[in-house]
């Protein structure tokens, strides 16, 4: 039962994520890639459209806060208490997504839906690497 509800929420949430990407593409003419939007502000490559990036990030961070305040629902995040894992994981995600030019949203959602070779290859690689990492760090070492 619990699992079944998860699937339904997965479909609903996923559909909304797809609408967000479709809106950003059709109206603003841009690919909705989270790592690219953030990274362009960090390394200065996105200075020319910083306003667009900051508005996107404000909506992305602000909307869940409003949902929590209005609904009283406290979503699970289950973030690990292992600080080293968070620091190393954050660094790897930051460096990796910028080297690869994309993450789950850019290469995954926006790339696969366009049948982009780079998007499909990147998604297969980061999912496989994620599988290995979970097996190593959670199943074998038990650190997260």
């Amino acid at each position: 039962m619990h699992m079944q509800m998860d699937w339904i929420w997965g479909l609903i949430g996923g559909g909304i994520i797809g609408l967000a990407g479709a809106l950003f593409l059709l109206v603003n003419g841009r690919v909705m890639g989270a790592s690219g939007i953030i990274g362009g502000l960090v390394d200065g490559s996105g200075r020319s459209n910083a306003g667009e990036r900051l508005s996107f990030l404000a909506g992305l961070m602000g909307a869940p806060i409003v949902v929590v305040l209005l609904s009283g629902w406290q979503p699970e995040s289950n973030v690990t208490g292992n600080i080293a894992a968070l620091v190393v994981g954050g660094l790897a995600v930051g460096i990796g997504t910028r080297l690869a030019n994309g993450c789950t949203s850019g290469h995954g959602v926006c790339g696969i839906s366009r049948l982009s070779t780079r998007g499909i290859v990147a998604t297969l690689i980061y999912m496989a690497a994620g599988g290995v990492a979970v097996t190593l760090f959670r199943t074998i070492l038990g650190v997260v």
């Binding site: 990407g21 992305l60 995600v93 910028r98 780079r118 997260v144």
Partner: protein, 143 residues
């Protein structure tokens, strides 16, 4: 106008990530646990997200963006060294912390200090990436 629609996309993205379970690091690790007790929920998230997005790409084919400019050009189907190495690093960090860039920003407001530690570290990694890319390119002139 651009900023308004940008914020609207961000809002939809944040709500979608939150409802779908993508901000629950246990669900993400459960999905990545392909050699263990695999949780397929995030497959449904990805599948559902691809439908509106694929329709948008089709619609975009012979048109221009509503607010002007051009749609992003298709990238060369070139599998470069930074794409492969970067994706390996990204996947490893995603599996370790259970967070990727979008859900990390979306859960800053409700996920506790751990999300902030991850987020600040991620920004640091993004700041380091251009210098690393230069070195990577110097090592392999072909890519």
């Amino acid at each position: 106008m651009r900023n308004l629609f940008s914020a609207l996309s961000g809002i939809l993205f944040g709500v979608g990530l939150m409802l779908s379970g993508m901000t629950d690091t246990d669900k993400v690790r459960g999905f990545l646990d392909i050699f263990g007790a695999w949780d397929p929920t995030l497959m449904f998230v990805m599948g559902a997200a691809l439908i509106p997005m694929a329709l948008a790409w089709l619609w975009a084919e012979k048109r221009s963006p509503v607010l002007g400019g051009n749609f992003p050009a298709r990238s060369e189907p070139e599998i470069t060294r930074p794409l492969v190495l970067g994706s390996i690093l990204f996947g490893a960090g995603w599996g370790l912390a259970g967070l990727c860039p979008g859900p990390a920003i979306a859960s800053l407001g409700f996920g506790g200090t751990g999300v902030w530690i991850f987020g600040i570290s991620m920004l640091g990694g993004m700041a380091l990436a251009p210098a690393l890319r230069v070195r990577l390119d110097a090592m392999a002139p072909s890519s």
